[in-house]
Amino acid sequence: MFCRFAVTTFLVALSACRTASPIPEPIEVGPPSEEYCQIAAAILQTTVRSYSEQPSGLERACVEGRARVGSTIYVDARFSRKVDPEVVERSECVTGPYHVRFDWKRFVPAPSPEVVLVLVYDAESGSGTEFNIRMERSTWPQNQPGVMAMSQCGSVFGRLDKADGQWSATAASK
C-alpha cells in the first residue's frame, strides 16, 4: 500500500515537472503606455518646427507635404532598450495633429507616402535615453537594415529627460 502511494506521488511530481511553464526571461519594464505618447509628443513638439523657428529641426512644411493626409500627420514611433523593442500596450495615440503608431508586431503602413519616424533608444554612453527623428517611406519595415530613405526634411538627434513626471526632449546642436 505504501509502495503504491509512493509510486503515484512520484508520477504526479514527474507530470507536474513536464507541464510547468519555463521560467520567463527577465523583462525590462519601460514607462507605462501613456508615457510613450508623452515621449513622442515631447520629441515632435521640440523638433518639428519651421526652419525659422528651429534651423536644425525637422522642417514642418516638408513634413506636412510628405506625411500628412487630411489634417493628420502620421508618425511611426519605436522604443528599444538594450536589444528588444519595448512592447507598448496601446498600439497608437493621437497628440495634436499627430497620429502616433507604436505597434511593430502588427505593422500596417500609414496611408501617407511617408511617415515621421521616431526612434528612441539607450544612449551609447550607457546612461540616458536618446532619439532620432526623421522621415521614412511608410513601408520602411520592408527594407533591409542599412537601406533607408534620404530624409528630405532633415534629421534630428537628441536626448530625453524626465523631471517632475514630465518628459522633455532636447535636440542636439547638429
Binding site: E59, D76, S155
Partner: protein, 175 residues
C-alpha cells in the same frame, strides 16, 4: 556640387538600432561620391554624361561662389537640401544660398546650365532664372525621393537611388 546627407540612425524592421549612426565622414566619403555619381548617371540618363564630372562637397555657401566663378564649368548640378519656406538652398546647416547670391556668382561665371536637384526647387529656380537670363535653370517639378543603402558594419555607402522624374527648365538659349 552636393550638400551633406542628413545624419541618420541605422535600424532594423522593428526599429532597433543596428549600428552607429550614418553620417558623411572621411572614411565613407569616397563610397558616397561613387554612389552619387552612379545615381546621377542613372537619373540623368542620356541627357548628360556625368562620368567625367567633378564632384564638389559644399561645406559652405562660399564654396559655391568660388567654384562657380572659377571659370571651369559650363554645367553645374546642385544635389542637396532646399528650404521651400525661405526659398533657399541649404548645402549645410546655417549655410544659406539665396537666389540673389547664386545669381551674383553665376553672372560672373562660365556656367550655361544650372540644375537644382533639391526638393521643392521650383520656386527657387523661378526666382533665380530672371536674374540670369542667359543661363538655363533646371528644377524638379515633384518632391525628390532618394534611397541610400549603407553597409551597417562599415557605414560605407553601397548605393544611392534617385527616383526618376523629368527635370523642367527656365530660361537659357540651349540645353
Amino acid at each position: 556640387m552636393y550638400g551633406d546627407p542628413p545624419k541618420m540612425a541605422l535600424f532594423d524592421e522593428r526599429g532597433r538600432k543596428v549600428s552607429h549612426a550614418f553620417e558623411l565622414t572621411a572614411s565613407n566619403l569616397l563610397s558616397f561620391q561613387n554612389a552619387l555619381r552612379r545615381a546621377l548617371a542613372a537619373f540623368l540618363g542620356t541627357h548628360l554624361e556625368v562620368a567625367g564630372a567633378e564632384l564638389v562637397r559644399l561645406k559652405d555657401a562660399e564654396t559655391f561662389v568660388r567654384v562657380v566663378k572659377s571659370g571651369h564649368y559650363s554645367h553645374v548640378i546642385y544635389y542637396g537640401h532646399a528650404i521651400k519656406e525661405l526659398n533657399i538652398l541649404l548645402p549645410a546647416l546655417g549655410q544659406n544660398l539665396t537666389p540673389s547670391r547664386m545669381a551674383q556668382a553665376l553672372k560672373e561665371s562660365s556656367v550655361e546650365h544650372f540644375d537644382i536637384l533639391g526638393c521643392e526647387g521650383a520656386a527657387i529656380a523661378a526666382e533665380l532664372s530672371p536674374q540670369v537670363p542667359k543661363i538655363r535653370v533646371g528644377y524638379l517639378p515633384a518632391k525628390r525621393e532618394d534611397d541610400v543603402d549603407v553597409d551597417v558594419a562599415t557605414l560605407r555607402v553601397r548605393s544611392l537611388t534617385i527616383q526618376p522624374q523629368t527635370i523642367q527648365h527656365f530660361g537659357g538659349g540651349h540645353r
